[in-house]
């Protein structure tokens, strides 16, 4: 794996929001980046597809106000759980 998880997540966000990846900061929320509710759900889908993971249903969570760092953390957690489950990770 060449890119870090953070780099990959940021690349996906940049593509979705049609912004320069360097403008994304860990503390940026999706809302800051102009990603509204339905686009946020689509972004979650893109991330799940890219990493072949499934986020648990975060009941009550509002993706708009999540920071990009919290997304990266959630991806890393899902990747770690997948590895621990013995499904292998690349």
């Amino acid at each position: 794996m060449t890119d870090t998880t953070q780099q990959q997540v940021f690349d996906i966000i940049a593509k979705q929001a049609k912004i320069d990846v360097t403008t994304i900061k860990p503390e940026s929320t999706l809302k800051d980046l102009g990603i509204a509710s339905l686009e946020a759900i689509e972004l979650i889908f893109d991330i799940e597809e890219h990493f072949n993971i499934t986020f648990p249903d975060q009941q009550g969570a509002n993706f708009d106000t999540d920071t990009t760092q919290s997304l990266v953390d959630a991806v890393q957690k899902a990747l770690d759980e997948k590895a621990a489950a013995g499904e292998g990770s690349k």
């Binding site: 509710s37 339905l38 979650i44 009550g60």
Partner: protein, 410 residues
């Protein structure tokens, strides 16, 4: 707009197939007892789905009862629900459509969000999953959105204006409004109308999962511990007729459908706007000749999502002003789930029951009041109180609002 020249419209029959059982009375009894029909999802693919709960029509529903074999093979589950609910409504109305011009002067308008979803899902599985070369030859007549309306028309020889209405979760209310307007303006004397939905297929459930709006415990409208909506299914079908037509034949009138309101938010495809929905409520009141203080009950859209519950509460305040504090507002979706295109029809059973029996059904599972929802939601236990007039709200994805105003039978 003057309503003086328009004919009055009354409800003379109702029928339902719902998660609370077979029949409108089973639904109404369940609702007034505060009984939730939400339970573990029963589905062949339940093991690999993330969604674990739903409000499903119980297995005691026998789609073959009193329907001949030749008709049955034409029916998607959506139409099975609709035909059975229609039979109950027609029987209750006491109408004989073979008499005189009754069949020719009867309209059929049935709302459904997606139509024959079960058939669609089965055929997709055959073609894409099993690489079959052939689709079932009755796929089209089962899938088409107008199938339910057409099957009801054929079953009873109803030859007036007949069509389907689709507006996602507002489909039933939009359909009932079209039917009522045709009676008001003299295009028909009678209408068989309502909504039906049966879309708990693997494909549709996966699509709902991806939207991340489904609760994993139960449906808790207006409660701060809400976790989203719970999908349901079923059908509610009503017989509407002009008041003079009903009175001339000595029919029992269940309620008057006195006014209607329809608006579009024109803002977002999923996020609701209080302005759009309050405007629909205000329209319905004005159309019915009701002042806010004439209304005692609102059957809320009340999906149990944060976006709906807070916005709808604000919209009710906008439309009702100070009288909002005196209204009983409840979401029966907490018990029958969100039957999408059928939901307004199941909820109309609740509204007719409330007007007829002077009992407001509760909002079940409301155990932690949400400060952002500041109305009287009749938590958990039905309330005996006189209900002179009531609204029934349906708001759909796409920003579409359809509101019915009903009055107690004259």
């Amino acid at each position: 707009m003057s309503t003086v020249s328009m004919r009055r419209v009354v409800v003379t029959g109702m029928g339902a197939i719902s998660p609370l059982g077979v029949g409108a009375e089973a639904l109404w009894q369940g609702l007034r007892e505060g009984r939730s029909a939400i339970g573990p999802l029963q589905h062949p693919d339940a093991g690999r789905l993330r969604v674990k709960i739903a409000a499903q029509v119980p297995a005691s529903f026998d789609p073959t009862a009193n329907i001949d074999e030749r008709t049955l093979i034409m029916l998607d589950r959506t139409s099975e629900f609709a035909l059975h609910a229609a039979r109950e409504a027609v029987t209750q109305s006491g109408l004989d459509f073979s008499q005189g011009q009754t069949g020719a002067r009867t309209a059929v308008v049935v709302g459904t969000g997606v139509g024959g979803e079960t058939t669609q899902d089965e055929q997709s599985k055959r073609l894409y999953g099993e690489n079959s070369q052939r689709a079932h030859p009755l796929s089209i007549v089962r899938v088409m959105t107008n199938a339910s309306a057409s099957q009801i028309s054929i079953a009873y020889g109803l030859r007036g204006p007949t069509f389907a209405v689709a507006s996602a979760c507002a489909s039933a209310n939009h359909a009932i409004i079209q039917a009522a307007q045709m009676i008001r303006y003299g295009l028909a004397d009678v209408a068989v109308t309502g909504g039906t939905e049966a879309c708990l297929t693997y494909g549709a459930l996966r699509a709902w999962e991806a939207m991340r709006v489904l609760a994993d415990d139960t449906c808790r409208p207006f409660s701060i511990n809400r976790r989203g909506l719970v999908l349901g299914e079923g059908a509610g079908i009503f017989v509407l007729e002009s008041m003079e037509h009903a009175q001339a034949r000595g029919a029992v009138i269940l309620a008057e459908l006195a006014g209607v309101g329809m608006t579009a938010d024109a803002t977002d495809i999923v996020m609701p706007s209080a302005n759009g929905s309050s405007a629909a409520m205000s329209q319905a009141l004005a159309d019915a000749g009701l002042a806010p203080q004439d209304v005692d009950y609102i059957n809320a859209h009340g999906t149990g999502t944060l976006a709906n519950d807070v916005t709808e509460s604000r919209a009710i305040r906008l439309a009702f002003g100070a009288h909002a504090d005196r209204l009983a507002v409840s979401s029966t979706k907490s018990m029958h789930g969100h039957a999408l295109g059928a939901s307004g029809a199941l909820e109309l059973v609740a509204v007719v029951g409330a007007l007829r029996d002077s009992v407001v059904p509760p909002t079940a599972n409301l155990d932690q009041a949400d400060p952002a929802c500041d109305l009287d939601y009749v938590p958990n236990i039905a309330r005996e109180m006189p209900v002179r007039a009531a609204l029934s709200n349906s708001f759909a994805f796409g920003g579409l609002n359809a509101v019915l105003a009903l009055k107690r039978a004259p």
